[in-house]
């Protein structure tokens, strides 16, 4: 009977099946499968029969055939869930004041925390949008006196604003520098188009390399040439709309007044339209004029090392070593100019908003300590809100001792009680989130007024932050609900029903501790605010 080359169905699917399927079905189904397998071996190749066998086995995993899956457990639990929700709801409605304080308090805490989070995120996001950002540096200019360098650094801090010839000199002397862009200080100029006249103060004269270094997308115009010719102007979209409405501005000319010390009056031709500069940029503007305009009007100052009216940024090649570069600076400076006290340093773009110590910035700067302070305050507020929630919930827990006692004597397990009370706190946390969202939307306009930032909620609620936000909410629910859940579910039914709450003493101690902690945090925050305010 047994042939030497016996063909057998593969073993693992059977083992797999024995693990999952109900015992009473195994003999029949295994037999059926085996019979089919041998049918298939006769019809197809052995490999195909084995493949079909395994595939059929997988398809046998159906609820009705599986072990230990009862067919109506959902109905039973559904009633229990319904009861949990009913009880939770009744408790909320019964103690309205308590519920409102609890939900509103937690919601306020979360809203404050989120607003602070938005502010901090916005501060940290400055200039991150530049694609070549990690390769952009800028020059800071300083004067050192021969003795005591530390003190002179304080007396003569570095300036970002500096002379013009440093730009071309850097480009010529350092092969690791790919491109240099220079721009003037903020210029004031009156622009006229037909009957529309505006005094523009957010304008820079800028080199034509700007669009190859910074990631400012051009809607119209060639990034390489828009700022090449004298008397060219590139408008941001909103500026273009201001002057031209919906008409096409390219090729039209704007009559420009004299820019004191920089350019003579003349007609500027619109060569390009760019997207508005993002609000999280360390300097912003409404329009750019070509640097060649400046050069044509005042050619003398572009060789003058002592004349200060330029910001110098540069793009380096991939393998740039900042430390090595700084060591070459003294030799370079003595080669290209005569003043022995003049020195320069460089700052990477990622540091220019928060970590710069230089003065005469092209725009506003932020403050790193402020960010730390705000983050800490945000976390404190949230912690206070959570503690407050825990206190209220624990204080009320004693009233629910009887419920716990009855549930337990009916046969509720501790785990299901924990589940119930945690679920209740999650319901409250969820309602608080709704309140928080309302508060955030209501407060956002004031926040934008106050900080002068363009905070758009969608920028902070995206694929990256949503897991953190949901995780944060779950964590709050868990932190706030765990203590009441554990204490309540630990009651001994007999004692509770007799009216003795033994675990009360421990609860009171913890609550006292929490209240003290909460008040100290609040006092610290208030005192800190008053001190900072009065300074």
């Amino acid at each position: 009977m047994m042939q030497p080359t016996e063909i057998n169905p593969p073993e693992w699917p059977v083992k797999f099946l024995r693990f999952f399927l109900k015992k009473e079905y195994l003999e029949e189904i295994e037999g059926d499968m085996e019979e089919l397998f041998f049918d298939h071996v006769e019809q197809f190749s052995q490999a195909k029969a084995k493949r079909m066998y395994a595939w059929e086995m997988l398809k046998l995993l159906r609820p009705i055939l599986l072990k230990n899956v009862r067919h109506t457990p959902t109905l039973n639990q559904y009633a229990m869930f319904k009861n949990y929700f009913k009880i939770a709801w009744r408790n909320l409605v019964k103690k309205k004041a308590y519920s409102v304080i609890n939900i509103f308090g937690l919601g306020l805490g979360m809203a404050c925390c989120f607003l602070i989070f938005m502010f901090v995120q916005d501060e940290l996001s400055y200039d991150n949008y530049h694609e070549k950002g990690d390769r952009i540096y800028r020059v800071t200019h300083g004067y050192k006196s021969a003795k005591d360098s530390e003190e002179s650094a304080k007396a003569n801090p570095f300036w970002v604003w500096g002379n013009a010839p440093i730009g071309p000199a850097l480009l010529q002397n350092f092969p690791e520098i790919e491109k240099v862009v220079q721009f003037s200080g903020r210029a004031d100029i009156l622009l006229t188009y037909e009957d529309k006249k505006y005094q523009e103060d957010g304008i820079f004269f800028m080199d034509s390399t700007a669009f190859e270094i910074f990631s400012w997308p051009l809607v119209r115009g060639n990034p390489k040439t828009v700022l090449a010719a004298p008397y060219s102007i590139v408008l941001t979209e909103s500026t273009a709309r201001k002057y031209f409405g919906d008409a096409d501005p390219i090729g039209k000319s704007l009559q420009g007044s004299e820019a004191a010390g920089r350019s003579n009056a003349g007609d500027y031709t619109v060569t390009g339209i760019m997207k508005d500069v993002p609000s999280n940029s360390h300097f912003r503007f409404n329009a750019l004029l070509s640097m060649s305009t400046f050069k044509k009007s005042r050619p003398d100052i572009f060789d003058e090392w002592g004349y200060v009216d330029s910001y110098t940024y540069f793009l380096v090649k991939e393998q740039f070593n900042a430390a090595a570069f700084k060591q070459k600076i003294p030799a370079f400076l003595s080669r290209v100019q005569k003043d022995p006290n003049y020195t320069i340093s460089i700052e990477p773009l990622k540091d220019v908003y928060l970590r710069t110590s230089a003065q005469r910035q092209p725009g506003e700067t932020g403050s790193l300590p402020n960010i730390y302070v705000f983050s800490i305050i945000g976390i404190f507020i949230l912690v206070i809100a959570i503690i407050n929630f825990m206190n209220l919930a624990t204080a009320r827990s004693m009233e629910r001792g009887k419920e716990v006692g009855i549930r337990k004597s009916i046969g509720a397990e501790r785990s299901s009680l924990i589940f119930q009370f945690l679920g209740e706190s999650f319901i409250i946390v969820f309602l608080s989130v709704l309140v928080a969202v309302l508060i955030i939307f209501a407060a956002l306009p004031y926040m934008i007024d106050f900080t002068g930032k363009e905070l758009v909620i969608l920028r902070f609620v995206n694929g990256e932050t949503i897991p953190f936000l949901i995780g944060g909410v779950l964590l709050i629910g868990l932190a706030a609900g765990s203590y009441p859940a554990l204490v309540l579910s630990g009651f001994t039914p007999a004692l509770v029903l007799k009216g003795i709450t033994r675990s009360a003493a421990g609860g009171v101690n913890l609550r006292r501790g929490l209240v003290i902690f909460q008040f100290s945090l609040s006092i610290a925050l208030i005192a800190g605010t008053i001190i900072v305010y009065s300074q």
Partner: protein, 116 residues
């Protein structure tokens, strides 16, 4: 009709069991139904239909003999219950009634359906 809760596929399997009589076990049912429907069926779909109908009381089953191909494992022979027969007959009647009323009211529609 509503009380019986017999699905379309279940009805087909049930009818096959009734047809096969003493030979109604898993593989044979699958073979017969595949031949009639002209499509491949999985063991899982047949088995779950059988078990479901057994639970609902349309089928009973007992172990039968074994063959060489089955490696010593017995077949399970399914038999339709009288309740199943009653339900099948009822369904047939309801369908027949519906077809009759279609023919009576709108002759053209019936004609079209026949053409289809």
């Amino acid at each position: 009709m509503k009380k019986t809760k017999l699905g379309e596929f279940e009805e087909l399997v049930l009818l096959t069991v009734a047809t096969l009589q003493a030979n109604a076990y898993g593989v044979e049912i699958k073979r017969e139904l595949e031949y009639r429907l002209k499509e491949k069926l999985s063991v899982g779909s047949i088995q779950s239909a059988l078990k479901r109908m057994e639970e609902k009381g349309f089928l009973t089953s007992e172990f039968g003999e074994t063959t060489l191909k089955r490696g010593g494992k017995r077949k399970r022979i399914y038999t339709t219950t009288s309740y199943a027969h009653k339900v099948l007959a009822e369904m047939k009647e309801i369908r027949a009634g519906l077809w009759d009323s279609i023919a009576a009211t709108v002759g053209t529609v019936a004609h079209e359906l026949k053409v289809i």
